[in-house]
């Protein structure tokens, strides 16, 4: 029991540390830049024709500095920033959609992103691993060769290219799927469910198409080496059914690295979903980030970027905690 507790504490400490490193990055980057966000914003307001007196400008500058957490010494700023990100999640009002708080906007978008990411990552993972297992155990068949060729072509293509091509083909040339998202239907109705599935279909397909190839290729490598292991050969010679050999002997042993990698890949997949959301105008965190960029909404940008790092770190932690459940041989020392 003490062993488990020690593992848990160590892992949680690691989690806190990762989040801290991420937040520190976000804190440092804007301060290293030659541009002062307050001056940039004031400049933008001026150029949009707002006429202000000297003392009004000064008051506004103070207010903005305060809102951006730029007052006080660097240490005070840092602590204030940590407190805002981790405890209150208060990033102030969105400047583009004033006065809706950033927190509320993110709260609306987060379920969309996580729904999309969870569904597509799981589908890609299951499909990729299942196909990988099959072709790894019969490497010379025609199907295996064809599937491998497909995986080799799809795996290296960057997300945004695939997303772009899919959206050109299916929303523009053939008009099967919508170009923008307008969700219809009352809460908890079938119409709503259908509408969500309809709008998430293309983004999900693009993420699945890019990620399943990796799972398939790595699973193929794992299972083809496992087929030569003595215990698998013995099981086969013993006359066990092929399905039993695959599911009880090969699969559990190949599962472990695949789960580890799932945890490592979550961050990369999150990057992909940002792009997919922007290309398909899907109402998740990615689109929010894009709005923030286009409108120069500093508060929204800080909020989305900080929270996405915390969210990805948390998801990774959860996968890691599930890990020992899969392999009884793992003991925490």
């Amino acid at each position: 029991m003490a062993r488990h507790a020690r593992f848990l504490i160590g892992r949680l400490a690691g989690y806190v540390a990762v989040v801290l490193v991420g937040i520190t990055f976000i804190f440092i980057i804007p301060r290293l830049l030659p541009v002062n966000p307050v001056e940039a914003m004031l400049g933008r307001m001026m150029s949009q024709g707002a006429y202000m007196q000297e003392d009004q400008v000064k008051a506004l500058r103070e207010a903005l500095s305060d809102a951006f957490g730029l007052n006080g010494t660097l240490l005070e700023q840092y602590l204030g920033f940590l407190r805002r990100t981790l405890l209150s999640q208060d990033f102030g009002p969105s400047l583009a959609m004033y006065p809706t708080p950033v927190k509320e906007l993110i709260g609306q978008a987060l379920p969309w992103t996580f729904g999309l990411l969870l569904a597509s990552v799981l589908i890609a993972w299951v499909v990729g691993n299942a196909l990988g297992l099959i072709i790894g155990t019969m490497p010379d068949s025609r199907t295996s060769r064809m599937l491998e060729a497909v995986a080799i072509i799809f795996y290296p293509i960057p997300y945004f290219i695939l997303a772009l091509v899919l959206s050109i083909l299916f929303s523009y040339v053939w008009k099967v799927f919508p170009l923008t998202t307008t969700v219809r239907g009352a809460p908890w109705s079938w119409e709503l469910v259908w509408s969500i599935v309809y709008h998430s279909f293309l983004p999900a397909v693009s993420i699945i198409a890019v990620t399943f190839g990796w799972w398939m290729l790595s699973m193929r490598a794992l299972s083809s080496t496992l087929m030569d292991e003595d215990f698998v050969v013995y099981a086969r010679l013993k006359g066990l059914a092929r399905s039993r050999v695959l599911l009880r002997y090969v699969l559990p042993n190949a599962m472990l690295p695949q789960v580890t990698f799932l945890a490592l890949q979550l961050g990369l997949m999150f990057n992909g979903s940002i792009i997919a959301e922007i290309v398909f105008s899907y109402p998740g965190v990615g689109s929010l980030i894009y709005t923030a960029i286009l409108q120069g909404d500093y508060n929204l940008l800080m909020g989305t970027v900080s929270l996405s790092i915390v969210a990805v770190a948390t998801a990774t932690l959860l996968v890691d905690l599930l890990y020992p459940l899969l392999d009884p041989r793992i003991r925490h020392r």
Binding site: I26, I29, P30, P34, D140, I152, I153, L164, I275, Y298
Partner: protein, 276 residues
Amino acid sequence: MMRLPGKLALGAVLIGLIILVGPLAALVAPEDPRVWQTHPRNQWPSAEHLLGTTALGQDTFWLLSWSVRNSLMLGVSVAALATLIGVGIGLLAGYRGGMVDRVLSFLMDALIVIPSLPLLILLSSMTKGQTSLLAVGIILVIFNWPFPARQIRAVALSMRERDFVNLAWYSGESVGRILWRQMVPYLRGWAVANFINTILVVVAVESSLAFLGLSNDNVPTIGTMIYWALKYQALIAGRWWWLLPPIISIIVIFVGFFLLSNALADRLRVNPMAAR
């Protein structure tokens, strides 16, 4: 499984094609593609303009070759640096162990888990498209060395128990020499495969940023080319000769390099744990 020479040959042909259209053609380009309005706008492909002209009056073919050249240059330099740093730090962490290892491993894990795209978006949107390629490159190096480092560390951990390493140590070799002379030779093939993969990551990230309009507008890359094409409605106006070439060339780059690294990995038995 595709036969090995096939993969290698196809990959080499694809990359050869890209180098021909990109860096080599850019050498002999008769004009600077950054200058607008040098030609009539929106011309169809013809003998004079192989891929037509853009809505900004640039020759699409020369624009493409400069874009490919710049994207590749960024990719190659970032990948080389990230792989070198990764191998160095990974070897050090694995060989030294103890406190050094713990600190470095923690740093690697933290950097791997943090999604880098949001940070890059933050950085470039605050400088509003004025981010120099150098700045993007530095950030990409920071986020890409931990991947090789983590794996090399695992190899170094097991290798330092080997007889030949012990022998070198007993003969009084310095740490640097042990790492360089005893361990690095085993990792060369693996490092090359990693280098190629990192080129792809870098090209993908830079073009994603450019696609969002966050790269430097003055440096044509494949991503900025797609961005400008979309921005000037090449899609709706059906100007395929502007939009398709960058999309096709990026797909060729990715499939080609991936085939190369894959064939290399097969040939060299690149799994570093197999270095016995």
